[in-house]
């Protein structure tokens, strides 16, 4: 679900576009440190992964299903700067090639999903990692907590934007309560999927998960003398 054209008024759209441009600019600088060298192919494939991941439906029961937002998952797996770039490109491609999300609302969508969702998620992830024991097993737990917080925080940011530049006045407390209520439930689902997915990545290739990389110890090379000479 992306914000379409005309959902927020022109000044708000312009302001969020400015915020988005600034944030993406910072991410462009920061991503150089996260990706080894000019590894655009890698970031491109991660962008496809985020896009494809959003297409995988998780059944909730009673015929309904939900899908992943993936901002926290991407931040934990490839680092927040690269995740910002990947989500920005996903939103750009969705707006231009799929007409999903308005062209004039691109700044709003990038601000919400590539900046707020990614960075709120990553900040909570780092905090949770600092509080949990230093072990690979705590990475999925921290990612789940981060995903759970990131979704309602993004919803709250959306409410803030609507309060500033919405098309029609809605009782704000009702809007906030409804949005938070729904998105806390969605956050629970996001947390579960993020926990399971990060868990399965960390179990197979912990070296690929950015958020687990500092926990890996490179075993010292040991030269042993053969025992059977």
């Amino acid at each position: 679900m992306h914000v379409p054209d005309g959902f927020l008024d022109a000044p708000t759209s312009l302001a969020t576009a400015g915020v988005a441009a600034l944030g993406v600019g910072v991410a462009l600088r920061g991503a150089r440190r996260e990706l080894s060298d000019a590894a655009a192919p890698l970031a491109g494939l991660v962008a496809v992964f985020v896009f494809a991941g959003q297409l995988l439906n998780f059944p909730v029961g009673a015929g309904t299903s939900g899908h992943l937002v993936g901002a926290t998952l991407a931040a934990v797996l490839v680092g927040p700067f690269t995740a910002t770039l990947c989500l920005t490109v996903v939103l750009l491609v969705q707006a231009l090639a799929f007409a999903d999300g308005g062209v004039s609302a691109l700044g709003t969508n990038v601000t919400l999903m590539a900046l707020v969702a990614v960075w709120a998620g990553y900040a909570v992830f780092r905090l949770a990692r600092a509080l949990l024991p230093r072990a690979v097993a705590s990475v999925p737990v921290a990612a789940a907590i981060a995903a759970f917080v990131s979704v309602p925080v993004t919803a709250l940011a959306f409410c803030g934007l609507y309060a500033v530049g919405g098309q029609a006045p809605i009782d704000l407390s009702t809007l906030v309560v409804t949005m938070l209520g729904w998105h806390t439930a969605i956050g629970l689902g996001e947390a579960a999927i993020t926990f399971l997915t990060v868990g399965s990545v960390v179990a197979a290739r912990p070296d690929l998960a950015y958020g687990a990389r500092d926990l890996l110890t490179t075993p010292e090379l040991e030269i042993r003398t053969a025992a059977w000479t």
Partner: protein, 256 residues
């Protein structure tokens, strides 16, 4: 990999709109949407004007209406929101038949539906008449920062590959008798997602190394530079220029 050649985003054709250079069309889309969004919502006639302009462009592009409508379904969640808006918005209420609706909510719903639909329609027209790789060239031509252009290029290039990978995993799951029905099945789906990440990442590494060995320097060479003649610019910008005129007239007419 013989099946499905991944052009479902693009409606193949040779109309004047198809032949326009992608960057001119992209600029036209941005300006047209800016004019639509910037128009005061009380100017009902202006939105009728925009609709006529856009429909004219769609007719010239010779893309079937059914195809465009199918692509416009993405707007649906916000149509639901727009329908709800007159009921939940605050402020003075008006009686419409048996219902008591918020006046501000009705205006908001109107603005959301008209501007949102025009925006989606214009974007669908661009997507339908422009091949994805042409869009990337347009972004490159319009000086989007190189890393973003490159990521977008690789994303569009490998979209079909990764989606096919996801589909093969689905077939593998289903041929083992698995169907996801409830939350209890999430671990299996999440394992699919985890495997998809590892496979995508490893493919990215392989592609990067393969490209480095073929002399990749961080920028994809294009066979020919994207150029638009003055005539093509004028043709592409006809839509937003008339749109800007409509927008300006709407503002002038709105002044007391």
């Amino acid at each position: 990999m013989g099946a499905g050649h991944g052009h479902h985003l693009h409606y193949h054709g040779h109309s004047p709109v198809h032949r326009l250079p992608a960057h001119a069309k992209l600029v036209a889309l941005l300006l047209f949407v800016a004019a639509v969004v910037g128009t005061p919502r009380q100017a009902l006639w202006a939105f009728a004007g925009y609709a006529v302009l856009l429909l004219g462009a769609m007719v010239i592009a010779r893309v079937p209406a059914a195809y465009l409508l199918r692509r416009m379904i993405v707007e649906l969640p916000f149509v639901v929101f727009a329908v709800l808006l007159p009921f939940i918005a605050v402020g003075p209420r008006v009686a419409v038949g048996p219902l008591s609706l918020s006046e501000a909510g009705l205006w908001g719903a109107w603005a959301l539906l008209s501007k949102g639909t025009l925006g989606v329609g214009a974007a669908v027209l661009l997507g339908a008449t422009t091949e994805p790789h042409e869009l990337v060239r347009a972004l490159d031509k319009l000086r989007l920062p190189q890393p973003l252009v490159q990521i977008a290029a690789f994303m569009l290039r490998y979209l079909e590959v990764i989606l096919a990978e996801l589909d093969r995993m689905r077939i593998a799951r289903e041929s083992r008798g698995f169907t996801a029905r409830s939350i209890r099945h999430w671990p299996v789906l999440a394992a699919t997602l985890g495997a998809l990440f590892i496979r995508s990442y490893e493919r990215g590494e392989r592609v990067h190394l393969a490209m480095l060995s073929r002399g990749y320097t961080g920028r994809m060479p294009f066979a020919a530079d994207l150029v638009a003649t003055r005539q093509q610019w004028l043709t592409a910008l006809a839509l937003p220029l008339v749109g800007a005129g409509v927008c300006a007239t709407a503002w002038a007419a709105g002044m007391p």
